[in-house]
Symmetry: C2
């Protein structure tokens, strides 16, 4: 059994996801076409498609058909793109660069970026709830309810609020961990759980994937903090050293570089422990966890 | 049979809706509590609750239990509040006053207002898709898919984009009508349709309510334009004459005051024609249409 090279897998997969996303995005001409252009700009071209790849890998364990898992992957990527577009706005992180291109509000304007984020947010739920996603209405309602909880005030957006509030304030590892679990972990957790929901897996499998995803997201966020200190701006396609400049409490400012590296390894091991029940079937998800630890972008 | 006085009905109903909304909104203390405060500020206190009242009235025709129809009403009001919060931002309509109070970004700040809107948007879908909304998963999936389509790029947000694009540009009645159908009509249409979805009504009833809601929303928007010219700032709780100042094409600038009044009456009659199939059961929805024509706030 050969090793799984995640960057290679991701590169092939991202081409397929772009096709799925392009087909779901609105594209008619008309007085609102600038909105459609901004949505496409924000969601296509340049993303790693890591979250849809987690959906893909998790759903494949349960034999879910490609068309179903890719619709859910597309919905997750729309949510991720919307969160980046709003996060980059001048009133929030004020980032001019995203994925090596001007961020959405620089390429268009602030009003269009706000609306494009809103439109991607709604379109993700439309995609999940439509019959093509799964023949069983219970699966579709579950996907919509679980995604909404993951990204709402008690999930991703709650984490973004903590992020804003923690600027120029000394916070401890507990608040930094809560921030990362909500802001990043919740959508990773949904991505891993979505496979179990689509595959109508038993409760233990679903809970194991939920925890795996949450831990993986936390590890991903700490690596993000490390890359902000040590990474290469060209490879990352976004500004580095911006957390320190913004006075943000990161895992690095709390734990130091070596401490943060140890913490990532510890959390990744804790994530991997949740995959034991899947045996050999969990191999591709294990490879994602190892990739997250070693990524340089 | 006495007449139905909608303002009196709305005033009693809004107290009940505030209780339902308050129970659904997050309220825990913690580092993200400012987000929760901004969400409550945006959604509670001061709204007419007209859209939830349409859900209430439509669902009552089909014997839908109060707890179910009010959860859907709450979801609709969350969406309406989110759209107002984002619309009032400096990059969009730049409104400092809403419902007689400082708008959300003035009472808090822009970043918090953007996130509060996003959080209300997600919470609406969470509310619809959870089991408490209806025991049948097909109803919940249908509600989520139908709402998402109504408020996404091909619905409400598409209308907001046309609104922005039509500033300082001469547009005709066709574009103004499309703008109003998307920006206002789509959520009104969902509100009326939601009763039929919750009540698992036959397709003809659903389609009639969908058209009724869409026409009602269009009439509502033209009355809004009339109030912007003729209304009282104190009664409206928001600035007047702002469309003209912003160089927006409204029904008034296209049709004139008398022409707009005739158009409202024509559209309201067309809306009412869709209620004929419901006979006496449609009485309360008919009263809403008459109220929309006569409202002064």
């Amino acid at each position: 059994m050969g090793t799984i090279c995640v960057p290679d897998e991701l590169s092939g997969f991202s081409g397929q996801m772009e096709g799925v996303l392009a087909a779901l995005l609105p594209s008619q001409r008309g007085p609102e076409e600038k909105l459609y252009e901004a949505m496409s700009y924000a969601v296509l071209g340049g993303g790693k498609y890591l979250r849809p790849y987690i959906v893909e890998t998790s759903a494949s364990m349960f034999g879910v058909p490609a068309a179903q898992r890719r619709r859910v992957g597309a919905a997750v990527e729309m949510i991720h793109a919307y969160s980046l577009v709003h996060d980059d706005l001048p009133a929030l992180d004020d980032d001019d660069l995203r994925r090596g291109k001007p961020s959405c509000h620089k390429a268009f304007d602030e009003a269009t970026a706000i609306l494009a984020g809103d439109a991607l947010h709604s379109l993700a739920f439309e995609t999940l709830a439509e019959p093509d996603t799964h023949p069983d209405t219970g699966v579709r309602a579950d996907l919509a309810a679980t995604l909404a909880a993951a990204i709402g005030p008690r999930g991703m957006v709650g984490g973004q609020m903590i992020d804003l509030e923690s600027e120029h304030v000394a916070v401890g590892a507990d608040v930094a961990t809560r921030l990362a679990r909500l802001k990043t972990g919740a959508l990773f957790s949904f991505s891993a759980t979505a496979g179990a929901i689509l595959g109508q897996a038993h409760r233990e499998a679903r809970e194991a994937l939920q925890t795996f995803g949450s831990e993986l997201g936390l590890a991903f966020q700490i690596v993000d903090d490390l890359l902000d200190v040590e990474g290469d701006e060209a490879a990352l396609g976004k500004k580095v050293h911006k957390d320190m400049t913004a006075g943000k409490a990161t895992f690095i400012s709390i734990l130091g570089i070596e401490g943060a590296r140890r913490e990532v390894r510890r959390i990744a091991d804790s994530a991997l422990a949740n995959l034991e029940m899947f045996g050999e079937r969990g191999r591709a998800l294990r490879a994602i966890a190892e990739y997250v630890l070693k990524r340089d972008r």
